[in-house]
Amino acid sequence: MERNPMRRQLAIMRQSLFDQGYLDEQFIQLEELQDDANPNFVEEVVILYYRDSARIILNLEQALERKPFDFNKLDGLMHQFKGSSSSIGAKKVKAECTLFREYCKSGNGEGCTRAFQQLKREYATLKRKLEAYFQLARQAGPAETACCRKE
């Protein structure tokens, strides 16, 4: 009973993440991999993603402080970030990564800097939303959560 509203809320939240383009089908893949044997898989992966991303973002910031820009290095870092973002289905973040890489390829330092700022914003937004989502999921209870997801 209590959970119903929570579950419903969770479902709505989840759906909006997809609708607003924060997440894509890859996230669903993650969800599908979650099972009884691996009940918190999705969250685990996402937490791992945060940790790794934090490191990459730091590296990127450092690299962007050095002028002139080492586009190869920047591109390499961003490639990495893009890879992990796409693995969890972080759609908007991934798009920003792509944009950033385009700027790198064309040697557009200004564009890179701008794209990076945008990227950080998107990343922060996603992180916030996902954290809220998982928190609600925990409150709603594992079973519920599963149900919600399945729908």
């Binding site: 993650l30 893009k82 693995s87």
Partner: protein, 626 residues
């Protein structure tokens, strides 16, 4: 039941429990990959470092069936890892990357990846990756003449559903009623690692020179066209642990080889004529993409380009047969040296020296060399083992060639690990009799080859070195090294670039052999040149050589796998006509010998098949250079 199941449906069982090694520096992706793989019921090991991965793989070659690796890694480039694995372990490798650029994918293929997946990886894609393992095994099987049936039961690895090792063993027994090999059983018991179909590393029968000789003797006794049936041959040979299947497939190859030889003979006649002016042909380098490099190498080394040229690949072959000694001897490892290294003129330690110059470009052909200077080198080549035999071969040009080369190859190939180069050194004799050649030798090549797990390749390298006829080779070697393929320089290099290369050279050498030394190793070299192009052995495909030396050349990779058998065969094959289908990879045929090689090589449709396979080598069939 399980037993039944295992036997009858190995495939069903097999993918389950397949042992995968996943390598990715990105922890998120690695975790995801691991989970996906486990979901597919594979047995997964993960590591975030390529170096660790290599260590794990080297520890026990039979521990894994498949490797999946990211392309971009901080400690080692994914392609490099790919090369290492391909060379040393001959396992199928799948590349993974978020970047799907055609260029990158192509790079993956040329480096030998059997597949290239894009991130994020989906489970559907992973559910099918086991095909690469099976395919590879199948190919191996083909080369190795080992019955693959044994493999199937092996499914084991942990995952095997319900199949215990025992079951498998049981099955094996059943399966193998005909087979004498007990190995499978043993393997199963030992833990399917070896035998599992997944690894398919059944001990392959290595057709050493002696073995081959016995085979030929038996066949001749029975009559090649009439009574020579595998069963009888097997009886006559009376070799333990040899199965009818082994003999059957070997016989098939042999037949093809003979056919090829006869074709080649015709061509050779033409070539001989052309020889004089064949420089261009021989050198082919032009056409050969790879060869082009060779040219340079040759030039640099001083390859006797001219010399090489003189050996028109086809001509070479023809000759081989004729001058009894020549044939074999002269064959400068077709693959290898042909190019000019053959220096022939003087190099060969043997009188053949000329032939020797053919010295098959280091590539595995080192064996080929064997064929050539058989007398000489054989001893030297011995190091591989087969070498000694070579001496014997020269006589029978056709047939002998076969064995000889084979032996050489065997020696080499199998010996690859130890130092195929050794063979090379001896080859050097061949090359020009100059000790210098040895310089090329394998040791040098080896270095270049270093990455290659070249075991097989080593031999080749030896050859290549030899081929280069000593001095030049040396020079070239250096060059080669860079390229691994730039066989042009050193026969050794050839090896480097890709073991497969040597296949080609080998072939060419064979052809060259006939040329009496005048024939520049060009032929052999040619392949190298091709190889040069690509640093990866696999790459050589582009070489014209491919055409020349049909698949025969054992892919370096395959070489490794086959336990030298293939590789050995390759060279020998060349002589024989590509008797053995060295895995497609090897196909490195020397361009010059192209004609010959092609004639000879043709035999390897099998190799070609492999080509598609799994490994990137596929393209090799010709390409010795790989």
């Amino acid at each position: 039941m399980t037993v039944e199941r295992a036997i009858s449906e190995p495939k069903d069982q097999f993918p389950i429990g397949m042992r995968v090694l996943a390598v990715d520096d990105d922890p998120t992706c690695l975790l995801l990959l691991e989970t996906l793989l486990r979901r597919c019921q594979y047995n997964v090991t993960t590591t975030s470092q390529a170096i660790t991965a290599l260590k794990l793989l080297r520890e026990n070659k039979n521990k894994f069936d498949l490797v999946i690796s990211d392309v971009h890694m901080p400690d080692m480039d994914g392609f490099k890892l790919l090369e290492h694995v391909g060379l040393e372990m001959d396992l199928p490798v799948i590349m993974l990357s978020a970047n799907g650029d055609t260029k990158l994918v192509m790079k993956g293929i040329t480096h030998g990846a059997c597949d290239y997946l894009l991130k994020p990886v989906r489970i559907e894609e992973l559910q099918n990756i086991w095909q690469h393992v099976v395919r590879r095994k199948k190919f191996d099987r083909k080369d190795g003449d080992n019955s693959g049936s044994q493999d199937k039961p092996h499914i084991d690895n942990g995952g095997a559903a319900g199949m215990g090792g025992v079951d498998q063993n049981g099955k094996l027994n059943k399966k193998r009623k005909d087979q004498n090999e007990d190995e499978d059983e043993e393997h199963d018991e030992n833990g399917h690692d070896n035998e599992d179909p997944s690894t398919q590393k059944k001990p392959r029968v290595v057709w050493s020179v002696e073995l081959h000789r016995k085979f030929v003797a038996a066949v001749n006794q029975l009559g090649i066209d009439t009574e020579a049936v595998p069963k009888k041959i097997l009886e006559l040979m009376n070799v333990e642990k040899l199965t009818r299947e082994n003999v059957a497939s070997h016989l098939q190859k042999y037949r093809l080889y003979l056919k090829r030889i006869s074709c080649v003979a015709n061509q050779q006649a033409n070539m001989a004529a052309a020889l004089g002016s064949a420089d261009s042909n021989y050198l082919r380098m032009g056409p050969l993409n790879g060869l082009g490099t060779f040219h340079t190498l040759a030039g640099s080394d001083q390859l006797h380009n001219a010399a090489l040229r003189s050996f028109p690949p086809s001509g070479v072959l023809g000759r081989l047969n004729t001058p009894a000694g020549l044939g074999m001897r002269g064959l400068p490892s077709p693959g290898m040296i042909q190019l000019g290294h053959v220096q022939n003129s003087g190099n060969t330690s043997n009188d053949q020296s000329k032939l020797q110059s053919f010295v098959i470009p280091g590539n595995h052909n080192a064996n080929t060399l064997q064929g050539m200077p058989m007398s000489l080198e054989l001893d030297q080549l011995q190091n591989n083992k087969g070498v000694s035999h070579i001496g014997e071969l020269p006589t029978a040009a056709n047939t002998t060639v076969f064995p000889v080369s084979g032996s050489l190859m065997d020696a080499r190939i199998s010996g690859c690990s130890n130092n195929p180069l050794l063979g090379v050194t001896s080859n050097s004799l061949m090359l020009e009799g100059s000790s210098q050649q040895t310089t090329l030798h394998p040791s040098n090549l080896r270095d270049s080859v270093s990455t290659m797990g070249f075991q097989n390749g080593n031999t080749l390298s030896d050859f290549t070195s030899i081929a280069t006829a000593s001095n030049q080779l040396q020079c070239s070697k250096a060059d080669l090294q860079c390229q691994a393929s730039p066989t042009s320089c050193n026969a050794g290099q050839i090896i480097r670039s890709a073991p497969p290369e040597w296949n080609a050279p080998y072939h060419s050498n064979v052809m060259c052999c006939s040329i009496n030394s005048s024939i520049p190793v060009n032929g052999a070299m040619v392949p190298l040149g091709q190889c040069l192009d690509q640093n990866n052995p696999n790459f050589h495909r582009n070489m014209d050589l491919d055409s020349i030396a049909p698949s025969n050349f054992v892919d370096p990779i395959s070489l490794k796998r086959s336990e030298g058998f293939n590789s050995a065969m390759e060279p020998a094959v060349i002589q024989k006509e590509g008797y053995f289908q060295p895995r497609p990879q090897g196909g490195y045929n020397v361009g010059s010998l192209e004609d010959l090689a092609s004639a000879m090589m043709k035999e390897g449709p099998d190799t070609r098949k492999l080509a598609d396979g799994d490994f990137g080598c596929n393209g090799y069939s010709h390409r010795t250079c790989i």
